[in-house]
Subunit: 539 residues, 2 copies
């Protein structure tokens, strides 16, 4: 990333961040893990990190410097280390242990779309693989600097491409460069009265280009739509030239190439501009919490909301274990816990399922929509917990990755994965994945993170004492079993984290062998030398 | 099409249909055309139609009969003639004149998806081009039986594939075979309490497979969504094998191959199943008409509705010429016309713009939504004309193609074309296309047929006295100028009629040369022999 935009190389975000360390709920964690938490391992020293020898030839480096200038090609250790991986569990395990061996040979920072074109041409010429790098927040190995048989590999950091190219207020369309991070996107739009409304957990660091390249979904996507629903135009710079997708609200002009570009994860080219639907900035927002009698009852309530077209913009439903975890980590104990227990007990809820709902818009519309949602939720047995816990959720909505860092430093394997299926398929998918993960982790929790008229996503979190001798093997076995279970139950292998390096072997279950061949044919056309993001997406 | 499903070979629908002949408004038509209407030319005699000699080899015919049975391969003149073309203007001109020379060499009727696979394999083996044929309602030459350099060509009529494969009521998903026509789709769903809600003008004859293959939009798509928004799964049988796209409500698993299949117009393979989102059948519906002070004011009203999320399910806005035509053809004259004039005059509307709005759902929801839409329309100067003209529109919503037949028989060139762009681009697109068409036709009318938060579609109708010496050349010149104007103004070359044969040369303006190459690569993978629907979609 560009200067001043770096995360901790071994974890999430910045040291200065007021995180959510597990000072609450340590007892609970030790109980579910069946083991004491270790004392926190100190952060690794960047000076002691192991790196492979850089392999960029002098000729390639000179060709790249001729395009992006002297400062645009970084071969120093620091730059290489902070681009050595994404933020997946195996990435953090390796980097925390001081291992950045797969680092790119150099980091290149283009300042314009034209420079991106020229860099790709030079890399094809010089046999250099290119890994497009936005926020570097991939949790599926999407920015792993693999050479893929090429002589060397660069991270193409898009952190200088941060312009608002155009805002068409009348059509509610913003054309953005890919390097803008979440808060930057919202800032440039807010000053003009608009919002994108896209709030994934990675919001603070992930970029708009990364969102589009990975089919990101945000916490308010039930209301604002997934990023793939918001893209109306794009420019993809490929080694074979540019694919300029015209901006139309709708078209019947053959297969929709936007949908080839969206989710292409850098294997076809680099998004240098995207045109996204934006909305007038909502003057009001309200978040509330509810307790549902059970996870199943909560799913029924959400299904009713979305199928009756009274869905809130944010809809999140935790299963009973996740609900217990949330309450434990929030430090809800003693008198307050007893009060909550009595309140829920009076409503027939013993071990409930926590739901967060949120609405945004004009105060009038929020009121009208909230009333409509509330009626359906109450009909389904929801007990209101009020706006307090809703606001608390909204405040902490981007903090979970810090919590993961803390747990990892204390010897806990913590990982998440997500899938989606139809409403009919949901119980089987839930049971299958829960059962697979339970073989590897003493604590498995799940929440419904996104709802659709025809189905919903399931987001799993699992915790286990880390195997100090083979932490990555331990993770891989759990991940593999979970992915196999997802596919066996008819779920999608990823609802919003993308394919990257980690899900490649399950793609054919989704697209079929012939579908994968069709994608390979597209890649061969746009990237004939195969330099774009090797080892990602395609099996 | 299968027995009992045939349209008039030279025009739309059936003779028995109570159409809307131009008995009203003849004077108006003659005035705008500047020429008297001719007396209606009698329908052509199918026995006198000219046909090319069939070229299917005996070996190919035998191979096909071995798959679909004796009755499944039709080589008779009648079968060939009714599959000789779609229903575009040049198609009807040719067939009305008794020319069915481009007829397919045979018509093949598979009864199962497996038979479709086997037929494609046999055709690849025997060098036979395959034109998938659903309702045969293409107005862009999408079912033109071109050989594309192959020895012969068959029409693959999907009229026997009419099963409801599955209805998942809980997930509101229906899996349908491609040959079901609009009324059949609604019938099988209605008996189970559901609707697809897809009502293109071709509803009575077009098929679900054709809708998906051409990215169809229906008259209520503002509410129910375009067909491409409703597809959640599909099976595409190709010469290289099947592409089975799993049904997921959403996924981040790479490029969305559903969007390659949707809109593929038969050039990649044959859709043998599609899984579509359905909805509970609405118990209530209300259609109303309004007069807006001008076309521009009407567009502003619709933009406000859709951007404020109070859009009706049906939203159609005619420009002033189309409004005049509608009133003239409805036979509104004398006292009633004067009454309407006084009513509108009192509201400051002199030569207004007619809008149709429709809402469907529970009576309560219709009432709530109608109130919300109405407030925005009134704020934008809409004068209500009540439910009467709304109901009249709904009754006649599928009749325009019959009217076209009548005019054609009376020596009038009548053609329609559609495009879409952003709200900002709409005035320029409108002016450009109107100006291009005005060079070829004394009467040019336009309506907004579909609205989106970021833009809208424009649907043009133009009338001119037919050039009896070169009717197709006359049409081509007008069409070419209009398409050039669309592209110059940044519109999509087609909003819901697809590319077919007629729009091919403008596809690169939409997808770019490299995008077209990517599509070619996909086709080469799925259809290596190039037998699927030659001469369509790709330039």
């Amino acid at each position: 990333m560009a200067p001043g935009r770096e995360m901790r190389f071994w974890g999430w975000g910045e040291d200065a961040h007021a995180g959510a360390p597990p000072h609450h709920g340590i007892a609970w964690l030790e109980e579910v893990l069946g083991a004491p938490l270790k004392s926190a391992r100190p952060a690794p020293d960047i000076g002691a990190v192991e790196l492979s020898k850089p392999r960029l030839t002098r000729r390639a480096a000179a060709a790249l410097r001729a395009i992006v200038g002297e400062g645009g090609v970084r071969e120093d250790d620091h730059s290489r280390i902070v681009h050595a991986a994404g933020k997946g569990y195996p990435d953090l395990v390796r980097l925390s242990a001081g291992d950045a061996r797969p680092a790119p040979d150099a980091v290149v920072l283009p300042a314009t779309g034209e420079q991106v074109s020229a860099v790709l041409a030079a890399c094809a010429q010089e046999d250099v693989a290119v890994v497009p790098f936005g926020g570097g927040t991939s949790v599926v190995g999407g920015v792993e600097p693999e050479r893929g048989g090429h002589r060397s590999v660069i991270a193409l950091d898009l952190g200088l491409l941060t312009r608002l190219v155009d805002l068409d207020q009348r059509s509610q369309l913003a054309t953005l460069e890919p390097g803008l991070r979440g808060p930057e996107v919202e800032h440039v739009l807010r000053t003009r009265g608009f919002t994108l409304g896209h709030y994934p957990q990675s919001f603070e660091y992930a970029t708009v280009g990364g969102w589009v390249a990975t089919r990101s979904a945000g916490q308010a996507s039930a209301g604002y739509g997934r990023i793939d629903e918001l893209v109306e135009g794009a420019r993809l710079v490929t080694p074979s030239g540019d694919v300029n997708l015209a901006t139309h609200p709708a078209s019947a002009a053959g297969p929709d190439l936007r949908e080839l570009v969206v989710g292409s994860e850098g294997i076809l080219g680099v998004l240098t501009q995207v045109t996204l639907r934006v909305r007038p900035r909502p003057p009001a927002g309200r978040y509330e919490a509810w307790m549902l009698p059970s996870f199943e009852a909560g799913q029924e309530a959400l299904r009713a909301c979305v199928q009756e077209e009274v869905s809130p913009d944010v809809a999140r439903l935790s299963d009973e274990p996740e609900t217990t975890m949330s309450l434990a980590l929030a430090g809800l104990e003693g008198k307050r816990a007893a009060l909550l227990g009595r309140y829920l007990g009076a409503r027939g809820i013993e071990r409930g399922s926590l739901m967060i709902t949120g609405w945004e818009g004009t105060p009038e519309r929020v009121a009208v929509r909230r009333r409509a949602t509330t009626a359906v939720l109450r009909r389904n047995g929801a007990a209101p917990l009020g706006a307090g816990p809703g606001r608390a959720w909204a405040r902490g909505r981007f903090h979970a990755p810090y919590f993961r860092d803390d747990l990892l430093a204390r010897g806990v394997m913590v990982e998440t994965l997500e899938t989606a299926t139809t409403w009919s398929g949901l119980p089987g998918l839930l049971a299958g994945v829960r059962s697979a993960l339970s073989r590897h982790a003493p604590f498995v929790a799940c929440h419904v993170s996104h709802i659709y008229p025809t189905g919903a996503s399931l987001y799993f979190t699992f915790l286990a004492p880390q195997d100090p001798d083979d932490p990555i093997g331990q993770w891989r076995r759990a991940k593999t079993d979970a992915c196999d279970a997802i596919v066996a139950a008819g779920g999608t292998i990823t609802h919003h984290h993308a394919i990257g390096r980690d899900h490649r072997r399950w793609l054919a279950a989704e697209d079929g062998a012939l579908g994968v061949e069709a994608l390979r044919a597209v890649k061969a056309t746009l990237d004939p030398a195969g330099i774009m993001n090797p080892g990602k997406l395609l099996p």
